[in-house]
């Protein structure tokens, strides 16, 4: 392992973790040595560095050394491309043919790009082949398969770039597609979208653009049953079926990640990729790119194109009233998660809470939400007419019943790093306190308390503006850009004519109150203008009262006596007008709005397989639908069959010592057994050989056996000293692993006792949404500062000794928090593990945990789906939020970002005791989501590169705010922002991180998203529409129409169609039928067969669709569609003859 560069303190931390890991492994090894598992040693090897992981994964000798060498002088991506080139050129490794070299090269590059963590380089690339262009030159074809998904869009896209880079190195020509092939891609990808699903579907022109220009042929094996209809039997495309891997790489890779690919193309100065520009510009409208250069950012509606019922829209694209962008990073945001004020979470009807994913307009496509209470909350109009801003969550709960309209949904905190990561031009920053303070500091030397600067009185703000020419404080800057000239003039006139200004007394000037007559201002449309400007006011005694109104009055060009002081300047820009009229510098308050809708709700739940299992022991159908081992032990197949004898599939094994056959890994004589392989066709024993010597088939040990289950079951209870008093122990129907190795029953008994469930690999897991956290306070973790000190936390962020519970300290990279629910589950798991150690392995208990507090400090394994490498973590506290907080590096080392992803944790001892490769399913992708290796120490260099773009400053520099005004590309100011990438390889890569905006409580906000607490889909939908009606930035009829169009109508059509083409199912044995058996009953078990799609499922959304269509006056086109569907459904489910008998019994059928 390369030397970790860290401070002494961090070294101590890492060494401490590793020492405890070693200790745990020793205990587990001692326990497993007793032979209670398929193998007598811990089966999770500790991972060395990335280079080794890659070499072992791909199996090209010498690669590791080369990678280390290259990494020393270039970035990961460059190294990945370079090593690929070297492998292809034969500098490293040796291959029988050019093709093999290219193949290995792409795999190696891919593995380096994915940190050697995911299975995509082995399972996702099927093969690489050479094809022939029509001009006789050669091109390379990369065959992608399904698991390429796990590599993520960026790595998928870059693998194509690797292919191109490699082929140039060895002189292979580019791919020159034929026109029919281009069209084939178009048809196929759109078909794939229908049969599977795509996160992003490129337009037809985008696909054509990519295929025509991509220098490498993106190919693949068929993954779906569906076949293309046109463009069949093409000479150079070997299948008519849909190639899922190809579709993923092209759509979610190249098309979606074009900006990232472009970044690398520029870096490497590769030619032939200029077409990416067109792709990024948007194939449909080439103007948007131009516009953004002309300092304009256009609304993007991609995120609301597919609306789902029950997931509300919070703001239409870039609408006034939507989220106001605020730049900065809180300790619980960045890395694709954004912050909003918890008061906003409450006022947006609890739909958003910590961990809820939002689909956002920009900079990325999604972000997880976190509570940050140092930014502004929503501004609402109450039924009383008051316009108030709610920044405090307590106040939010108090006023939520009185809210009539949410005029503005508040600020959203997004950090610079996310713009950098997405390569999105910086949007103009609003004029915020962080910026104002620079302007203030540059001209004013007067000592003023920070508190007063943050929240100045009107008189202070005016004094600073008048005396020092400091721009008008953001507190008194209104949203002048949201009104037009007419509105401005009307307002100015109205205030001048009808307003009364009540000067404040004593407190100095500017504290006065402006009073406007209520009735007239409503009648003349002035109140809405005040609301648009976010001029807060109270309504009482027939008047509108604006406190601290002087700055506002001055901005209207009026004086204290409300006389017109200056005449209206000739400009269409109202911000400029306010500046000229007042004589102050006035800046835009909300130049950038971010549209958003809800994505998926947060998650914090135990992992259950479906159906849930507590032990990997097969009982076929003997346990009923619940797979209950208890009933399997009493099972009789027929009247006079032996009780508890069940017929299951198991792997036949043989004892090398005494030659006895059994189905378990230990022989009665104590020896470990070996699988007894035979050829399934020739029925001959095959010892040790890979294939059958006679027919060449793959041998297997699997056999259908009559297992005398009852005694095994009873013995297991006896072994762990438990009484047979269980109601249910959930087994599985059939094992999925190659040799059909079952788990010991004893484990299932103890798991059932403690009510824990397992995953396919035998481990107990808890799933949580990933949220980054860089700083903590003991008081919000449910522990004390003293306990934190024991966990090696010595100082707070300012370098002061850690003494109080409310000091903010920098989170160590491998520490994590669990939700309280998760902690309870892990406590049960710890108790189970302890009992397992004592009763099954007969060794000392390990955890001895009575309360969740006893779990603080225990080691855990974090593991993300699609990966095969766990990461060592340490539990340091708990949170009320339903999310898994951990250091962004910890998430990144699992190759997750935080845009709504979720993954799992498990107890270390559970993992090393119970995990066995023998349990893993043999099918493709079976090795994913299993801890095949354990990363023990996080090296920021070896985590997902996305994490390198996190900024760590305490305040963003002035240059940053200036750069945003010019809509600069974020890379242009990369050097002045303190990013993780600039600290790599230095001790500070682990420490001394800072943040710009604090939050008083990381778990503030509702405990659960109302999406989860609301009952039926219709209820959710009602809530969604009622919220849409309240938010100014949301067009409720548009939401209704979109929900109908993209959710309810497709659902109705889909269900109607599937009703008429449906499969049938036996309710007894679960067998599915493509069509009903002619006998009517299940031919397998004689059970009743039922429909899988019922009338109810088809009709489910019909009434609500009709109702909503009417209520919101959706387009007549959509209403007609609903009407036709109604007619269709009635026609299908109503007996026409009954109707006829009732209506026109004896009327003879008319001619027409």
């Amino acid at each position: 392992m390369g030397e970790t560069i860290a401070s002494e303190e961090m070294h101590r931390y890492f060494d401490g973790l590793e020492a405890r890991l070693k200790e745990a492994i020793e205990i587990a090894n001692r326990a497993r040595a007793r032979g209670g598992d398929p193998r007598p040693v811990v089966e999770i090897p500790l991972a060395k560095d990335l280079a080794d992981r890659v070499e072992n994964l791909i199996g090209v000798k010498g690669v590791a050394e080369k990678i280390r060498e290259l990494e020393a002088r270039m970035s990961r991506e460059e190294a990945a491309l370079e090593i690929g080139k070297q492998v292809a050129e034969g500098v490293v490794g040796s291959f029988p043919s050019k093709k093999d070299a290219v193949e290995a090269a792409i795999r190696v590059s891919m593995a380096v790009l994915t940190e050697g963590v995911v299975a995509a380089p082995i399972e996702g690339i099927d093969k690489v082949d050479l094809g022939k262009n029509d001009d006789g030159s050669q091109y390379i074809r990369i065959f992608y398969s399904g698991p390429i998904r796990s590599a993520g869009g960026t790595a998928q896209a870059l693998s194509v770039l690797v292919g191109d880079y490699v082929r140039r190195g060895i002189g292979i020509d580019r791919y020159k597609p034929r026109e029919e092939e281009v069209e084939r891609y178009v048809e196929e990808i759109l078909l794939y979208k229908r049969v599977a699903s795509l996160q992003y579907t490129p337009s037809e022109d985008e696909i054509r653009l990519i295929v025509r220009n991509c220098p490498v042929c993106i190919d693949g094996d068929p993954t779906e049953e569906a076949e293309v209809e046109g463009h069949r039997d093409l000479e150079r495309i070997g299948t008519n079926r849909v190639r899922g891997g190809m579709c993923l790489v092209l759509a979610e890779g190249l098309a979606l990640k074009a900006p990232k690919v472009k970044k690398h193309v520029n870096k490497l100065k590769m030619d032939g990729w200029d077409w990416l520009e067109t792709l990024i510009g948007g194939a449909k409208s080439g103007e948007s790119d131009e516009d953004e250069q002309k300092n304009k950012i256009k609304p993007k509606d991609k995120y609301i194109r597919d609306l789902i019922a029950g997931r509300p829209v919070f703001s239409h694209p870039s609408r006034p009233g939507g989220f106001r962008l605020r730049y900065g990073r809180s300790r619980n945001t960045s890395f694709a998660s954004a912050g909003i004020n918890p008061a906003g979470m409450v006022l947006l009807d609890d739909f958003i809470t910590n961990g809820t994913q939002l689909k956002i307009e920009r900079p990325g496509k999604a972000a997880a939400m976190s509570a940050v209470d140092s930014i502004e909350g929503p501004t609402v109009r109450l039924f009383s007419g008051d316009l108030i801003r709610v920044d405090d969550i307590k106040e939010a709960y108090e006023v939520r019943q009185q809210v009539e309209v949410i005029v503005d949904i508040g600020e959203i905190l997004i950090n610079y790093g996310d713009f950098l990561e997405n390569n999105h031009p910086l949007m103009p920053s609003p004029y915020v306190f962080e910026w104002w303070i620079y302007d203030y500091e540059s001209v004013c030397s007067e000592k003023i308390l920070e508190k007063d600067l943050k929240n100045p009185s009107a008189s202070l703000a005016l004094k600073l503006a008048e005396k020092y020419n400091v721009p008008l404080h953001p507190k008194f800057t209104y949203l002048w850009h949201d009104i037009n000239r007419n509105e401005f003039e009307a307002l100015r006139k109205f205030v001048a004519e009808k307003g009364t200004f009540l000067e404040g007394e004593g407190e100095g000037e500017g504290e006065g109150i402006l009073k406007l007559p209520l009735e007239d201002s409503v009648k003349e449309g002035i109140k809405p203008v005040l609301e648009k400007l976010l001029v807060l006011h109270k309504v009482k005694e027939g008047g509108i009262f604006v406190e601290e109104a002087l700055p506002f009055i001055l901005c209207l060009g009026l004086d204290r006596s409300l006389k017109e002081k200056v005449s209206m300047p000739d400009t269409g820009d109202m911000v400029e007008a306010a500046g000229i009229l007042s004589g102050f510098k006035v800046y835009p308050k909300a130049p950038s709005r971010i549209g958003a809708r809800m994505g998926r709700p947060e998650k914090s739940d135990l992992r259950k397989m479906s159906p849930a299992a507590q032990v990997l022991f097969p009982i076929s159908n003997a346990g009923g639908m619940t797979r209950n081992l208890v009933s399997a032990s009493d099972y009789t197949s027929c009247m006079n069959a032996k009780i508890g004898e069940i017929e299951v599939e198991l792997g036949l094994r043989e004892c090398p010592a005494c030659g006895k056959e059994s189905y378990f890994w230990r022989c009665e004589c104590g020896e470990f057994t070996n699988p007894k392989l035979s050829c399934p066709r020739c029925k001959i024993d095959v010892r040790g050989a890979e294939t059958c010597p006679k027919c060449g088939r793959k041998p297997t040990s699997v056999a259908n056996v009559k297992l005398d289950f009852r005694p095994i079951y009873k013995q297991a209870f006896e072994n762990v000293g438990e009484r047979e008093r269980m109601d249910i122990i959930k087994g599985v129907k059939r094992l999925m692993n190659g040799q059909m190795t079952p788990e010991p029953l004893e484990k299932g008994i103890l798991r059932a006792k403690h009510d824990v469930y397992i995953f396919k690999d035998g481990t107990v897991r808890y799933d949580m949404s990933d949220i980054p956290l860089t700083h903590i306070r003991a008081d919000e973790l449910g522990i004390t500062a003293a306990r934190l000190r024991e966990l090696d936390y010595k100082e707070d962020i300012y370098g002061k000794p850690l003494e109080r519970d409310d000091q903010v300290v920098c989170l160590k990279v491998q520490d994590l928090l669990l939700s309280y629910d998760g902690a309870e589950y892990m406590l049960r798991t710890a108790k189970y593990v302890d009992e397992l150690l004592v009763k099954y392995y007969k060794v000392e208990p390990y955890y001895n945990a009575e309360t969740i507090q006893d779990l603080v400090g225990v080691l855990m394994i974090g593991l993300a789906p699609h990966t095969s490498a766990g990461v060592l973590g340490r539990l340091i506290g708990f949170t009320k939020a339903s999310v898994g907080y951990a250091h962004p590096f910890f998430h990144a080392s699992k190759r997750r970002n935080c845009d709504g992803d979720e993954d799992c944790v498990m107890l270390l001892m559970d993992g090393i005791l119970n995990f066995s490769r023998s349990y893993l399913p043999e099918k493709r992708g079976g090795k994913m989501d299993a801890p095949l290796v354990l990363t023990t120490r996080i090296d920021p260099k070896e985590v997902d590169k996305e994490a390198h773009n996190i900024d760590l400053l305490a305040r963003y520099p002035l240059e940053f705010y200036r750069a945003t005004q010019e809509i600069k590309n974020p890379t242009e100011i990369e050097s002045i922002m303190d990013l993780v990438s600039s600290r790599l390889g230095k001790p500070d890569q682990y420490e001394h991180f800072m943040f710009t905006h604090d939050t008083s409580n990381i778990a503030a906000g509702p405990l659960k998203s109302s999406y989860k607490t609301l009952g039926s889909m219709i209820e959710k939908m009602e809530a969604q529409l009622s919220l849409a009606g309240k938010i100014r930035a949301v067009d409720a009829p548009d939401v209704a129409e979109r929900v109908l169009k993209s959710h309810f109508l497709p659902d109705l059509i889909g269900n109607l169609r599937s009703f008429s083409r449906q499969r049938m199912r036996c309710i007894k044995c679960g067998e599915k039928f493509r069509r009903p058996p002619l006998t009517g009953a299940c031919p397998k078990c004689g059970g009743n067969v039922v429909l899988t799609v019922h009338e109810g499922a088809v009709r489910k959304y019909l009434e609500i669709s009709k109702e909503i269509g009417e209520r919101y006056g959706v387009s007549s086109y959509t209403r007609q569609r609903i009407e036709l569907l109604d007619y269709d459904i009635c026609s299908l489910f109503e007996n026409h003859k009954v109707k006829q008998l009732g209506l026109s019994d004896f009327m003879s059928g008319s001619a027409r």
Binding site: I1053, G1080, L1091, S1116, D1128, H1136
Partner: protein
């Protein structure tokens, strides 16, 4: 009556029977009548007849009752037969109509007032008896193959119009009032079980056009009371022989799916049964059949619906065939080139007969012969008609790709206003115009369709279409059948367009369902939109969109318009399988795929008419080049086809 006969009889009725029940029936004094009794009283929802379903008491009681009421039933049935043979083509299509004709008593009140009925069992038995007799008439005339099938139509009608009939049947005392009707059935239906069965069997052995012709004739004449028959007289008369409109009984229950496939199996297997001596599949699993007498394996035949097709590692094909008694695997070796070729064209859910030998372990049949229902070779065109029929489809009014200019030219042609003399000459002979679906482009048929529409309002689309049709001379009879773009249910069979839409069209337009079998003054045309062509193109080698008539030919060989279930064709599980091609029509007219194709197969003319819509975005994507504005015109006297171009 031996075991096999019982199993067979039960099977053909669409049930399964347990061995113990077979024993029970065998042991009866009069097994045949008992079996008939059981089959006529058995509840629809039972699939496997167990011994407890055999109501011996009810049987005894019914026998007595039957003896007592035998003569009236015969009288009635005779009267009924007479009525039928008179060829009454009235539009009556309900049992009640039939009842009302022979009996002068006020049946209406009987049917509607249950309490009265129980008090006067005579009238109830009468009405039920009618069921029996009408069925029997059909049975006899249709040469015993269109079996009563426990006639669900009438059953359910009765149970709707009266108190639960099944309840009545279940109770001993009431059963006696019900049974006489069953007796009636027994008497008449005996043709199917007994002598008549063999008679019809032999008839079918020499399957010829004449036979099927007669049977068709029979079906036609008796169909005055059959579902969907409408006759429109006039200069250019039409008779709608088969059409779902107004007869859809689907309410979305599992049983209906089973019934639908049972009807398919029973109808198609009957066609095959005339050509091979097949056994119930269940019987193959019995020792006696698979052990050949002296080592050599005996050849057996089975008829089944294809439920699965797979290939072995060695390249042989394995079919899974199912009948209502069970299923069996059939191996087709790739060494038998011809057979293998045929097998690789088989598709799911078609009904075929297979002859072969069963392997020693009794698990597999090695096929030597595969038989599809197909059209008999000797079939001949009907003659004696005159004039022309114009076949079009896929007009897509409302689409932005609708070729209005060409379409207006076509209307001018129909009006006899073409420029060329020849065209005017043809136009003068046109008697009929048939539209096989997709009259308008519809709305919401595919995502973002609104981008490709000129008329966004579907009713506006139809009004526009109606305006066009008003220009067609009134003497031309127009028949419009819906397609997947039309404003009717998507599930097939589709009923005719709703009244609201039809009302805008002139009275020379007749709306029918999809599919529909229509008699055009003596020539039978089967109209089907052609959704299933998509399935056939995807699963039968050599069938392509460029030659759509080839797909229709495949339908004809299978005697079924849409064999494969669960793929592209949405079905509504009706009691009767409307897709079955029986009788064999003179013309089959399809559309849907927007390409033109004309073929002849055993004297049946297959026409797929093109479209009036230019290439759409979707078609561009799937590489489908439409053939717009080409119109096949068929001469009804000699079936000569002319293709007129209007572009």
């Amino acid at each position: 009556m031996n075991e096999i006969d019982i199993v067979r009889a039960v099977t053909e009725e669409g049930y399964q029977i347990s061995p113990s029940a077979v024993e029970l029936i065998k042991s009866s004094i009069s097994p045949e009548s008992l079996l008939k009794y059981v089959l006529s009283t058995i509840d629809d929802c039972i699939f496997v007849i167990e011994s407890e379903h055999i109501d011996l008491k009810g049987f005894e009681a019914s026998k007595k009752a039957f003896d007592a009421s035998e003569s009236p039933s015969l009288t009635l049935s005779r009267a009924q037969s007479g009525n039928m043979s008179a060829g009454n083509m009235s539009s009556g299509n309900k049992p009640s109509d039939v009842i009302s004709s022979p009996s002068s008593e006020p049946v209406n009140s009987d049917r509607l007032n249950n309490s009265e009925k129980v008090k006067t069992p005579g009238s109830l038995s009468d009405s039920l008896e009618e069921e029996g007799s009408t069925l029997s008439v059909e049975t006899e005339v249709v040469s015993g193959f269109d079996i009563p099938h426990n006639n669900p139509v009438t059953d359910s009608d009765i149970s709707f119009s009266q108190e639960p009939a099944s309840d009545i049947a279940a109770h001993g005392s009431l059963a006696s009032t019900v049974y006489p009707s069953s007796g009636g059935i027994e008497k008449q239906v005996s043709s199917f079980f007994g002598e008549a069965g063999s008679k019809s069997f032999s008839a079918f052995k020499s399957a010829s056009r004449a036979d099927s012709f007669f049977s068709n004739e029979g079906a036609l004449s008796s169909s005055s009371r059959a579902e969907g028959v409408r006759h429109i007289s006039g200069l250019n008369p039409i008779t709608v022989l088969s059409d779902i409109t107004g007869h859809s009984t689907c309410v979305g229950e599992y049983v209906q799916f089973v019934q639908y496939f049972r009807d398919r199996y029973s109808k198609l297997s009957e066609i095959l049964r005339g050509r091979m001596n097949a056994r119930p599949i269940e019987s193959l699993k019995k020792r006696s059949f698979r052990r050949g007498s002296d080592g050599g394996n005996e050849e057996l035949s089975i008829i089944g619906i294809v439920s699965d097709i797979s290939s072995t590692n060695n390249g042989h094909k394995i079919l899974s065939l199912e009948d209502s008694t069970g299923s069996f695997s059939v191996l087709i070796r790739n060494s038998d080139k011809e057979l293998y070729e045929l097998a690789s064209r088989l598709i799911l859910d078609e009904v075929i007969g297979v002859t072969g030998s069963v392997t020693n372990d009794g698990n597999l049949m090695l096929a030597t012969k595969i038989l599809q229902p197909d059209v008999p070779n000797s079939i001949q065109h009907r003659t004696g008609s005159h004039g022309k029929v114009v076949l079009i489809s896929d007009v897509h009014v409302g689409s932005s790709q609708f070729l209005e200019d060409a379409w207006l030219d076509f209307l001018d042609f129909l009006k006899g206003e073409s420029d060329s003399e020849e065209m005017r000459e043809i136009a003068s002979q046109v008697r009929y115009l048939v539209v096989a679906g997709d009259l308008v482009d519809g709305i919401g048929i595919y995502p973002d369709q609104e981008m490709e529409l000129d008329i966004l309002d579907v009713y506006e689309q139809y009004r526009k279409a109606a305006d066009y049709f008003k220009e067609i001379p009134r003497h031309i009879r127009v028949i419009i059948s819906p397609g997947n773009h039309d404003a009717v249910r998507q599930a097939e069979p589709q009923p005719a367009l709703p009244e609201r839409i039809c009302a805008d069209f002139p009275e020379n337009v007749t709306f029918v369902g999809n599919p529909a079998l229509v008699d055009l003054d003596g020539i039978r045309i089967l109209i089907y939109h052609g959704r299933s062509i998509d399935d056939l193109v995807a699963s039968v080698p050599g069938v392509s969109y460029h030659e759509p008539a080839g797909a229709v030919l495949e339908m004809l060989k299978r005697r079924h318009l849409a064999p494969t279930y669960g793929s592209r064709v949405s079905i509504s599980p009706e009691k009767k399988d409307y897709f079955i091609i029986d009788p064999v029509p003179d013309i089959i007219h399809t559309g849907h795929v927007h390409t033109l194709g004309v073929q002849r197969y055993k004297n049946v003319l297959l026409v797929n008419s093109g479209t009036w819509q230019a290439q759409t975005e979707f078609q561009k994507r799937v590489n489908l080049v439409p053939v717009p504005a080409r119109v096949p015109v068929v001469d009804l006297a000699d079936f000569d086809v002319k293709i007129l171009a209007f572009d």
